[in-house]
């Protein structure tokens, strides 16, 4: 069974695709199989659906960035496959991505009271130390640059990301219906760390028959480079903002 979903992303912003699998409890997890020109994979995060469960479904979050693109309708394909035997593909999910061009708005964004969204355009404004620059907290440049993540444009992550659930006809922040493997095969656990494969240039069979399930790391967790909830560094700027959009 394969899935096809529609999604909107914004040029110059980060968006997130969440897919549910039994990775960790099973060797089967979602993998991104193609990156169209102009789309970059920034980070992957795996988190448990229920914090107290060591075995059970997880959410795999793929953080993707839209760089300058030429094609505004692209496809992303995710495959649900066995991590140590990638040819064992048991499902797929195609995301039809519609990219909204950066300059869809006719006019340059500007406010006397915001740190410049575009330092190149608003250089003079941003450089003026006497201005009050308060607005949404994440508009603060320093924190954005420190983490290498342009948090001046959080809307794509905080508000607009997610897959459109075609049944509900609405945007879902976390697209849970996918990849939930109902068969019994996923009770094994999945001990291997993927980089071992490439280091030794050989297929490394992660399933160790002598290894008890207790020895198995329950879920391979990666520390995300970015997170929409990253704390922002305080600066001497006011933070009067409009709460519904944070």
């Amino acid at each position: 069974m394969s899935y096809v979903q529609e999604m909107v992303a914004y040029e110059g912003k980060v968006f997130q695709v969440n897919l549910q699998s039994m990775l960790g409890s099973s060797p089967y997890g979602w993998a991104l199989s193609n990156l169209p020109e102009g789309i970059v994979l920034e980070a992957v995060e795996t988190s448990r659906l229920a914090a107290e469960n060591t075995i059970g479904p997880v959410v795999q979050s793929f953080y993707l960035g839209v760089t300058a693109v030429k094609e505004y309708n692209v496809k992303l394909t995710f495959l649900l496959l066995c991590s140590f035997a990638p040819k064992k593909v048991i499902d797929s999910c195609t995301v039809n991505l519609r990219i909204v061009p950066e300059n869809a708005n006719q006019f340059a964004t500007y406010s006397d009271n915001a740190v410049a969204e575009d330092p190149a355009v608003n250089a003079r404004n941003a450089a003026d130390p006497i201005q009050i620059k308060y607005g949404f907290p994440c508009v603060m440049q320093d924190s954005a640059l420190m983490y290498g993540f342009n948090c001046a444009q959080p809307a794509a992550v905080a508000v607009d990301y997610g897959l459109v659930d075609s049944s509900a006809g609405d945007v879902a922040n976390s697209a849970m219906p996918y990849g939930y493997i109902s068969s019994a095969v996923h009770k094994y656990g999945y001990p291997c760390v993927m980089q071992s494969d490439s280091l030794y240039g050989m297929s490394f069979n992660c399933v160790n028959n002598n290894q008890s399930q207790e020895d198995t790391p329950p879920v391979r967790k990666t520390t995300p480079f970015i997170s929409p909830g990253s704390p922002f560094v305080d600066t001497a700027q006011m933070k009067y903002g409009y709460p519904t959009c944070q």
């Binding site: 006719q106 340059a108 009067y240 959009c245």
Partner: protein
């Protein structure tokens, strides 16, 4: 020196060998008080001493002055890059060689359309002469430019004209609006409609993208569209082009008339805007006079009217081209009807007047706030409040959007209305406080913010932060 001039336009003569239908200066015969050669050369030295980087010589027809090569050379010797605007009629082989020897950087010929239109506006045979002049300029290695004044007479021909200019080897092309001044005042049916500004910007964008000729929209064309910024990036060959800071008159540039009168802009030339004459005072004295160019140097957004008064960019552009406003409405403080954003604001008013679903309007507004389109969000919220004046969420959001658009009085009003519904709303208190601070009443603002902080039992770090910033900016004691 508080202001460092970079450039100026010098109308070296009012004499002209053409009688163009759109001439802004209504030039005819040279006037008797024109600067003599020695006076002009002395002025060249003063221009160099003042530190100008480049100058544009125009007229009248500058080539009708016999001493023009000497003036150019003197400016060049003073380290000033010289551009010349001419109608091209007198650009003979001999003249082009003399100009080359004098060190001129660019010679731009005014071209108003394809041959038929150009000759109709100017003089029979002038297009053919310009064509020959471009060939001569290319031959001797002087950068060839064109200047086109756009009116209803030629706006439909811009694509055709572009091809003509490219085929003639023109490298740079400045386009400017024909405003109803000078001779064009008598040709009102030639004057463009404000909505046509977008067509011009589109044309410039398309031309810049093609990369076959560098196109420069004049300061009267724009403002703040992405396309216009893209055109500047391409034509200035720079990746970092800041948002335009408004009229340069009296800040970074000035104008010189044929008789040595100094003014901010050669298009704003009535007596009240004359700052002095170099026959009476030195150029530096005039420039550094703290009372000079006060119409521009002391201009503030607070004086603007119409839609310019509520515009998000008002502190940036101060209404844009001053001459456009003066010519169109008779007032420097009036709104700029040729501003692309002004046109968009008028369209937004119509758009939101037609919507009456409060839920939909709120959804639109919140989406717009999320994408930092505060001005349009404020329009949507204003409409909500027309339909439902006591919509507390709309009042709070409107206050925020008004703040982001620097419309502090409106921000204050919205937050006061929100507080009338709920006197203990910390968000509205915060909005009111920052609005008051911006309006100059920091003391009341700080007091209100302190109340908001107390209401939140000192738990809201952002409120505390803002309180600290307000105190810091107002230099009021912490005890307040």
């Amino acid at each position: 020196m508080k202001y460092q001039p970079i450039t100026c336009v010098w109308e070296v003569t009012m004499g002209c060998n053409m009688r163009c239908g759109h001439c802004g200066s209504s030039c005819k015969e040279p006037l008797p008080d024109e600067l003599k050669t020695e006076e002009a050369l002395e002025l060249c030295d003063q221009i160099g001493e003042l530190g100008l980087k480049w100058i544009t010589l125009s007229g009248g027809e500058p080539l009708t002055r016999k001493d023009i090569p000497r003036i150019i050379k003197r400016l060049n010797d003073n380290g000033v890059i010289v551009n010349l605007i001419t109608n091209g009629w007198l650009l003979s082989e001999t003249m082009v060689i003399r100009l080359k020897e004098s060190g001129v950087a660019t010679v731009a010929i005014s071209i108003d359309g394809t041959e038929e239109i150009h000759d109709k506006i100017r003089k029979e045979g002038s297009f053919a002469r310009s064509k020959r002049a471009f060939a001569l300029l290319n031959l001797v290695g002087i950068e060839a430019g064109a200047v086109t004044t756009i009116t209803k007479q030629n706006i439909g021909q811009l694509h055709e004209l572009k091809e003509e200019l490219i085929s003639m080897g023109v490298q740079t092309w400045q386009v400017q609006l024909g405003l109803p001044m000078g001779n064009l005042k008598e040709q009102e049916d030639w004057v463009l409609e404000p909505e046509q500004m977008n067509d011009i910007i589109d044309f410039c964008y398309e031309t810049a993208q093609e990369g076959r000729i560098r196109i420069f929209p004049a300061d009267c064309i724009g403002y703040y569209t992405h396309k216009e910024l893209a055109v500047k990036k391409i034509s200035y060959q720079s990746r970092n082009v800041p948002l335009w800071d408004g009229c340069n008159a009296g800040l970074r540039g000035f104008g010189i008339l044929h008789n040595g009168n100094i003014l901010g802009c050669t298009s704003i030339r009535s007596e009240e805007y004359l700052e002095g004459n170099i026959r009476e005072r030195s150029l530096r004295d005039i420039w550094e006079d703290e009372n000079a160019f006060s119409w521009r140097r002391k201009m503030t957004a607070a004086a603007l009217s119409g839609d310019c008064a509520i515009c998000n960019y008002k502190n940036k552009c101060l209404g844009g081209c001053t001459n456009t406003r003066l010519t169109m409405n008779g007032s420097m403080e009036s709104e700029n009807c040729y501003c692309a954003y002004n046109v968009a604001l008028k369209n937004l008013k119509v758009k939101y007047r037609g919507l009456s679903d409060v839920t939909l309007l709120m959804a639109i507004a919140e989406k717009l706030i999320g994408s930092k389109e505060h001005q349009e969000a404020a329009f949507a919220l204003k409409r909500v409040l027309e339909l439902k004046p006591e919509h507390s969420k709309a009042l709070a959001a409107k206050g925020y959007c008004d703040y982001m658009c620097s419309n502090y009085s409106s921000c204050k009003e919205a937050n006061e209305a929100a507080l009338a519904l709920n006197a203990k709303d910390p968000y509205a208190m915060r909005g009111l406080a920052v609005a008051l601070h911006k309006l100059g009443d920091s003391e009341t603002g700080i007091r209100i913010l302190q109340e908001a902080v107390a209401l939140n039992q000192y738990q809201d770090q952002d409120l505390l932060h803002d309180l600290a910033v307000l105190r810091q900016e107002s230099s009021l004691p912490d005890a307040l």
